[in-house]
Symmetry: C2
Subunit: 330 residues, 2 copies
């Protein structure tokens, strides 16, 4: 059985979910793909747990960080550079203005000949082409299915199933928080502020909600989809962005009267994020905090994928799928 060694960088909700998913699917993956996934390092800001023989994931994901017997104070970037591993999973929270700390992590991994799987949008928004060519030069792979649409395998689906198609348009409901707020406003007739507060109480919106409600998160995903699926070389400043924070209950009601719902749409072809009217029966009219992505293609016609846009476990499904894709090629 081929062993594939992994370093998990960032051990918050997503990093822990990745550890749990690898632990729970260990024998299925071995049986179906003939691959044994072995996590040899886990790094977070405060230090790292390292074990070349394979960290016991059942225990590490549930315990307070820093109390592990193999915990060392080594810096993440050091571990990425010097520890022997096939794949680095980068799952730190990102900062879309400079892409750090993920950008440095990913560069260090690629430069030291390691494949990278990331759920972190920021480095890709800042330096997509640079990172892709760095991967190519080092003969390794950079995969990022988890950065857009959580569990929805849009990028790999296009690569593996739809590639001969020409894409005429990509429209998406790409942010679960704003979709939850708009759904609440529509279903219950409440004001934006009240719906936002409820989303915050449920943990669906951050205490500082600007990144979501101003449309920046959606725009980051538009940038990634444009670069990945349309072959462009764009960044956040190329996207025209209007958020949902000025939508009123009256506007929502008026839309409904004519058979429409207001959704925050990321328009990848036109590099635009804005609230748009979506017919009630349209595949992009999805409720709650779901995400949806609609591709218009020349042969397959319109194809829409609807699924969980966030959630650590759901996101770990996309990360695992990228890990397996790399493992198959090793």
């Amino acid at each position: 059985m081929r062993e594939v060694s992994i370093i998990i960088v960032g051990f918050g909700k997503i990093g822990r979910a990745v550890a749990r998913t690898i632990a729970s699917k260990d024998s299925d993956i071995a049986g179906e793909f003939g691959v044994r996934l072995k996590v040899v390092g886990i790094c977070d800001m405060v230090g790292s747990v390292l074990d070349e023989g394979g960290i016991d994931l059942g225990k590490v994901a549930e315990k307070p960080w820093g109390k592990h017997k193999d915990f060392v104070g080594r810096k993440t970037i050091d571990v990425i550079r010097s520890l022997k591993a096939d794949i680095v999973v980068e799952a730190t929270p990102g900062n879309v203005s400079d892409g750090e700390p993920g950008l440095s992590h990913i560069k260090a991994a690629l430069e030291s000949g390691k494949n990278v799987v990331t759920s972190n949008k920021a480095p890709l928004v800042v330096a997509f082409r640079e990172l892709k060519s760095l991967a190519r030069r080092n003969g390794v792979d950079l995969r990022y299915e988890a950065t857009v649409g959580g569990a929805i395998p849009i990028i790999n689906l296009y690569e593996s199933e739809l590639k001969p198609n020409t894409i005429n348009s990509i429209l998406g409901v790409l942010n679960g928080t704003t979709n939850y707020i708009l759904t609440k406003m529509s279903e219950e007739g409440v004001e934006f502020d009240a719906a936002l507060k409820e989303a915050q109480n449920l943990g669906l919106a951050e205490p500082n909600p600007e990144y979501d409600v101003k449309g920046i998160d959606t725009a980051a995903k538009v940038v990634i989809l444009s670069n990945a699926l349309l072959g462009k070389n764009v960044s956040l400043k190329d996207v025209k962005i209007v958020g949902i924070d000025e939508i009123t209950p009256e506007a929502v009601d008026l839309a409904k009267e004519y058979g429409f719902e207001i959704k925050l749409i990321g328009d990848v072809k036109n590099l635009e994020v804005s609230p748009r009217l979506v017919p009630r029966e349209h595949p992009l009219n999805i409720p709650g905090n779901l995400n949806a992505i609609m591709l218009e293609t020349d042969i397959a016609g319109p194809l829409t994928l609807v699924g969980a846009g966030a959630g650590p476990k759901e996101t770990s499904s996309s990360i695992l799928s990228d890990i397996i894709a790399i493992a198959k090629k090793l």
Copy 2:
């Protein structure tokens, strides 16, 4: 450049669309996958066009069959057995009671060491396990993305992206004709017979509509999904089937009053086809003749794909995707 030779069997709407799609995507496929697709034979009931150097597809798809300069009276099964080719595309219309003539075509192809791509449900409904093991014994591949959900790449998506997931349920709107009829009844309040007549006038329903409206087509797809994605070994007789031909406008209205639509649902886990109430905002509540398939998985959560369930061009997208998957492995 690696040449991949193809025999197209069945030159009706789908076979012709496959020829057109290969012709139009020829250079894209060569550029992206380093593969040159060469159609060396096209067979239909009345005879075959054969050209080992590659048939000029631009011309053959548009011309009346039988007038081609390379037309010969050779029998399809003969051509499949004796002509040298990498892949046989089986696109004849099928008969779900005995699977013929596709079943014999596919067997002959697999036995003579050719890979098979099919859009024909019937042979798979009748003999799924037998054909899969015949393929395995002959060291070739049998792919059938086009048999379920037209352009929706549900089978390959699961295989390539979701495989480590456990599937808890598969529910689908798998027949465009019945969905068109139910949508009409809901939107316009018309009787079943009137909606069916309109579907027939638009070419969306066959003159003999029983196969669609009695739920048999949906059941055939349930059988294929159960065998393909859940690893079962079931056939049509294992599926409990209720069609839509006794749905009244009153039932549709009553459902709407409570916020539901009536949809013909294929329930793959429970091997059941029946009209069910679907909440208005549910991802399976799709209008017109669209298809939708919803997988409930343990890690990725619920994932729904919505797209064109039929149409020759759309179906040819799935066939081409299967062809490329095989070509990559050759």
